[in-house]
């Protein structure tokens, strides 16, 4: 593995009161990838970002940038740039001066600045907007100016602090594509902070799921979605049915009063576990063909699919996403494949979880 561009080693952060916002965080960031720090508000994700940017220092532990310890390096001496949540554009400057700000500070020659600002504007699809005032621009345009102002400095790492949260839904989707494309074109590392799991899944190479000052799980969007480590991750990312059960032996789990074949291994026999079934993995069928017999409670039309809430014979609630329609009150069957079942142990650490998965997935 290459040397990571940023590493956190046992970083703890406490603010004035001694309650830690971050509890012993260790991770590596590799060059050229799109990372997302995902978690609810107050989980410490913005604190991590501010420490990388240099706006705050860790209480304990060390931060390394390309192998150099940078705990005390001030923000203006770091090779990272930030796109702020509220954009933080300078209202007394026009678009050109905003974007040129960093370059002017570096005392670059005028013609180089002109050239770079033009390129940056083209990159965010705002060519020709140089002389606009900031207050004349829409939210989406300001967002682009903020991105241009950061990338024009050619940082090694670009930090994005919930930059899409102020945009409307459509624009947000469009910006997701653009950001992803921009990252691939520039080839620099993006660290993106968000509480929106859809954004995280759509854009990232690697997601860090945070909860209450800890990194709970690290992995690609597919890994995290398909194999969440615990209840919290399964619940936070996507919709899921989480049912308590018992692992009878490898590849056999019991829940909802029945035994089911699954593909999970390495768990003690008769250990109590939680089982995750994603709503889109459940298929409606007739009662005879179903693995589970359920009664339909409500049917909600969601546009792309129906969201059907039903309950089984032992009163577990099930959510199903399907394009088929069902009648409330009717008895139907639910079908799913062994691969659709994901079994989670209680209190399993990420290292143990990864080791167990490696042992049978090879």
């Amino acid at each position: 593995m290459k040397q990571p561009i940023i590493s956190f080693k046992h970083v703890v952060k406490c603010y004035d009161d001694d309650v830690p916002v971050l509890k012993d965080i260790t991770f590596d960031i590799e060059e050229g990838k799109f990372y997302t720090l995902l978690g609810p508000s107050g989980c410490g994700k913005t604190t991590i970002l501010r420490m990388i940017a240099g706006f705050s220092e860790p209480t304990k532990g060390d931060i390394f940038f390309e192998g150099q310890r940078i705990n005390e390096v001030p923000a203006n001496k770091r090779q990272v740039n930030t796109v702020f949540q509220d954009y933080a554009l300078f209202p007394h400057m026009n678009v050109y001066d905003n974007i040129a700000f960093g370059l002017k500070i570096k005392k670059m020659p005028r013609d180089v600045i002109d050239q770079k600002v033009k390129e940056a504007l083209k990159m965010v699809q705002l060519a020709g907007y140089e002389k606009r005032g900031i207050n004349e621009m829409s939210g989406g345009q300001r967002q682009r100016v903020a991105i241009a102002r950061a990338i024009v400095n050619e940082p090694k790492v670009l930090l994005l602090d919930e930059p899409l949260s102020a945009l409307d839904h459509k624009l947000r989707l469009a910006m997701q594509y653009e950001l992803r494309e921009l990252q691939q074109r520039l080839g620099i590392t993006f660290i993106f902070v968000t509480h929106d799991q859809e954004e995280a899944l759509a854009m990232s190479d690697e997601i860090f799921v945070l909860d209450n000052g800890n990194i709970v799980q690290t992995g690609s969007p597919v890994d995290i979605y398909d194999e969440p480590i615990n209840h919290y991750v399964a619940d936070f990312i996507g919709e899921s049915n989480i049912i308590e059960g018992i692992m009878l032996r490898d590849n056999l789990v019991k829940f909802a009063g029945k035994e089911f074949e699954c593909v999970d291994e390495g768990i003690r026999e008769n250990e109590p576990v939680e089982v995750v079934l994603r709503p889109e993995d459940l298929d409606l069928t007739d009662v005879d063909h179903g693995k589970l017999k359920v009664t339909v409670d409500t049917v909600l039309f969601r546009g792309v699919h129906y969201e059907i809430i039903c309950h089984d014979e032992v009163q577990n609630e099930w959510m199903v996403h399907t394009t088929k329609k069902a009648e409330p009150g009717s008895l139907i069957g639910l079908y799913f494949d062994p691969e659709d079942i994901h079994v989670m142990r209680f209190n399993e650490s990420e290292a143990e979880f990864d080791a167990r998965l490696d042992s049978y997935e090879g």
């Binding site: 940017a53 240099g54 706006f55 001030p74 923000a75 203006n76 001496k77 990272v80 740039n81 930030t82 702020f84 949540q85 509220d86 933080a88 554009l89 300078f90 209202p91 007394h92 400057m93 026009n94 678009v95 050109y96 001066d97 700000f101 960093g102 500070i105 570096k106 140089e130 002389k131 606009r132 005032g133 900031i134 207050n135 004349e136 102002r149 950061a150 400095n153």
Partner: protein, 274 residues
Amino acid sequence: MKKSRFKWSNLYLILVFCFLYIPIFYLMFYAFNAGSTMNKFTGFSLAHFGELFADTRLIIILLNTFILAFLSALIATLIGTFGALFIYYVKQNRSKTLLLSLNNILMVSPDVIIGASFLILFTTLGTAVGSLNLGFITVLLSHIAFSIPIVVLMVLPKMQEMNDSMVDAARDLGASNFQVLKDIVLPVLSPGIIAGYFMAFTYSLDDFAVTFFVTGNGFTTLAVEIYSRARRGVSLEINALSTLVFLMALILVIGYYYISQDTGKNNSKGGGVK
């Protein structure tokens, strides 16, 4: 229909403004009197203006007054702006409130008390050091002192309007503390700073009580001079002078209006490229 409607609020405003302005216009009107008293208007003449311009003592006092106002407002604006910055960055809420209250007490305490306390300070210092004569310097110092709280009060709200993440952003883009101050903070604060300067300027211009206490033999300002002449019986020269000062104030106000409009426009339109 609406136009012909009689409004009490309009009448109220007209009466109030009449009450405020009639004395001034009355005074200005007699500045053009041919006679030498305000008993009777005997005919139009600019003679008093002529007298005024021939009175070099009064012209020098006028200039002194403006130089004093200019300098004291300038220095007070400098000190007050940084004072507002530091108060803003005081972390503890209690000390911040305390500092602000101390600032506001100076705003509301009577000029006579400020003047008297400065007189005591300067005379004590004078006996201790031996070389501090009451005059331009003492007046300037006290004018700076009572103008600083005004500037703080005008600048601080702008500081609170300023988005803190703008400072972070500037640092993030590589700006040093000084560059952040020069390129981001001061430009954003400039409307407040300009307003503070003008307020300090006018406060200095029309101060009587403090100046009266701390000035000595060699130096007087317009307010003090007019007061002492008025006690000897107002000559219409004073009316002429007041007319000129009033016009000057009018020009200042108009000037300030245009400056504030201009910065407002810059905020929304972004101005031109440098």
